[in-house]
């Protein structure tokens, strides 16, 4: 299992041809208290970079982009009733969706953990 990261502060945990995606701890801290998450519908397909979900803090709404292209296999419905999980466990129970990858070569363009850490330190 590999974990990759995007410049939009999303993580992608890859297992075979599926991936679980969410937003990083850095992103969750920047957003502040998450009060609502609009999840993608199961069966919907997204191109890499498409508007996949929305996460709202007290202050504002932010788009969450699809970190990779694919079809939504599952959405984390637990976030509907407990959006604060995005703050408490952004890289665990606060996952957003499970995606069936349509082009696994896209993963090559994402950062590994060390590169992502360096990217955050530079922000």
């Amino acid at each position: 299992m590999t974990v990759k990261f995007t410049e939009d502060h999303e993580w992608v945990k890859v297992e075979g041809d599926t991936a679980i995606v969410g937003i990083t701890k850095f992103a969750a801290e920047q957003l502040g208290d998450v009060v609502f998450v609009e999840l993608p519908e199961v069966g919907a397909s997204f191109d890499k970079g498409g508007d996949m979900a929305v996460v709202e803090s007290v202050k504002a709404a932010s788009d969450v982009y699809a970190p990779i292209s694919g079809e939504i296999l599952e959405a984390n419905d637990a976030l509907t009733d407990a959006p604060e999980t995005v703050n408490s466990a952004p890289e665990g129970e606060g996952w957003f969706a499970k995606i069936k990858l349509s082009d696994s070569s896209e993963l090559d363009s994402l950062m590994d953990e060390a590169a992502y850490k360096a990217f955050c330190d530079g922000q």
Binding site: D33, V35, F36, S57, V58, K59, A61
Partner: protein
């Protein structure tokens, strides 16, 4: 991105950055949006005491040409001048009394909302203490100068420190420094002294809580604010929580809930126009405003309660069935009510509390209803 070099700084700017605030541009100033987090700051203010830097706003003195006098008639003279621009009863203010009002254009549209206070001291009559919005102060002051000069003179006080100390513990926090605060009721102001430094202390604010606004000297005020913040009951609060607090309290934010196209009647602020001003019909746009009071406005500001957890932000379209009947002007999440809250304008026939509405949030219809304002009861001392 805004160039931070061009932004103005309040005298408390150094204190904010030292406290680790996240800063943003607001009204041309580099201002703290949050310190520890919007939700925590919001809840702290409702339960204890929050300190807000509002020095970006526009405090000023409007004084009769020739200066203040020890003569109640001087108040009537200055009040008559400002009443040519606002629909509130300023002549009728008691010494030390403050009143929320609005600057109007010739169509009765709201140019800004402001607080006008009559000094308490007998020897300072003929002077008004006025606080306008930071983003509108240049417009407002230019208007006052254009319309009221040479009969009145304007002294801008926006280099001073203006802080709001808000919450149920605000009185107890300030009492050791200003024993007189306990004698003030909501919307009353006194000039008080700390050592030799003059402060204007008003019992008002924009959170729905009891609290005070203090106009302080720009030099000595910095150490006083730092001292207040060392009190464990007091925390610094950013503009993020200021916005969520005022929204729960049902209070309007100029440029969002109010603008130059909206009248006080449409804004559901008819209570700002006292009876004697309606009878005299001598304020800008009086004909249109009085007709709206009599016949009802076409649109009206209401509270809106989304019925699921999705916040509806400013600009969200409001529908009744298939027909668009209005738009959200302020919306977000209310940490005290633990639910999304919003305000907006709807056609009058849909303005009754409980009316079912549909909000189009990012293309998805979401159920909402017209809600009574405020969302959180006001906790003013009267």
């Amino acid at each position: 991105m805004t160039d931070t070099l061009t932004l103005a700084k309040t005298p408390l700017h150094g204190l904010h950055t030292k406290l680790g605030a996240k800063m943003v541009e607001f009204a041309g100033y580099d201002m703290p949006i949050q310190f520890e987090g919007v939700k925590a700051e919001h809840l702290w203010t409702r339960e204890h005491c929050g300190l807000f830097d509002v020095s970006h706003m526009g405090p000023c003195f409007l004084t009769l040409a020739g200066g203040p006098r020890n003569d109640p008639q001087a108040h009537i003279e200055i009040a008559k001048l400002i009443e040519t621009l606002v629909p509130g009863d300023i002549q009728g203010l008691k010494p030390g009394q403050a009143r929320l009002t609005v600057l109007l254009n010739e169509n009765g549209g709201i140019l800004d909302d402001l607080i006008i206070t009559r000094p308490y001291s007998a020897d300072r009559q003929g002077l008004l203490y006025i606080v306008v919005n930071g983003a509108m102060k240049e417009q407002d002051w230019a208007l006052m100068r254009a319309k009221l000069s040479p009969h009145a003179e304007l002294e801008r006080l926006d280099n001073k420190i203006l802080v709001a100390v808000q919450g149920p513990e605000a009185e107890a926090v300030l009492k050791p420094y200003f024993p007189e605060v306990s004698t003030l009721d909501f919307m009353e102001m006194r000039r008080m002294f700390r050592d030799d430094s003059e402060c204007l202390v008003s019992r008002c604010g924009y959170t729905g809580e009891d609290g005070f606004e203090l106009l302080l000297d720009e030099v000595e005020g910095v150490s006083f604010v730092a001292e207040l913040l060392s009190d464990e009951r007091v925390k610094p609060i950013g503009l993020g929580a200021r916005d969520s607090l005022r929204l729960e309290a049902g209070l309007c934010l100029y440029g969002h809930d109010l603008d130059s196209c909206k009248t006080p009647v449409e804004a559901n602020l008819t209570w700002l126009i006292q009876k004697n001003r309606r009878e005299r019909a001598d304020f800008p746009g009086a004909e249109r405003i009085l007709s709206q009071i009599e016949n009802g406005p076409v649109i009206k500001r209401v509270g809106i309660q989304p019925l699921d957890r999705a916040p509806a932000r400013e600009g969200t379209e409001i529908f009744a069935g298939d027909r668009k009947i209005g738009e959200i002007t302020s919306g977000g999440f209310g940490p005290t009510v633990e639910a999304p809250v919003a305000m907006g304008y709807v056609e009058r026939e849909f303005s009754k509390t409980g009316t079912e509405l549909t909000l189009m949030v990012r293309g998805k219809p979401r159920a909402a209803k017209v809600a009574k304002l405020p969302f959180v009861p006001h906790n003013y001392k009267r």
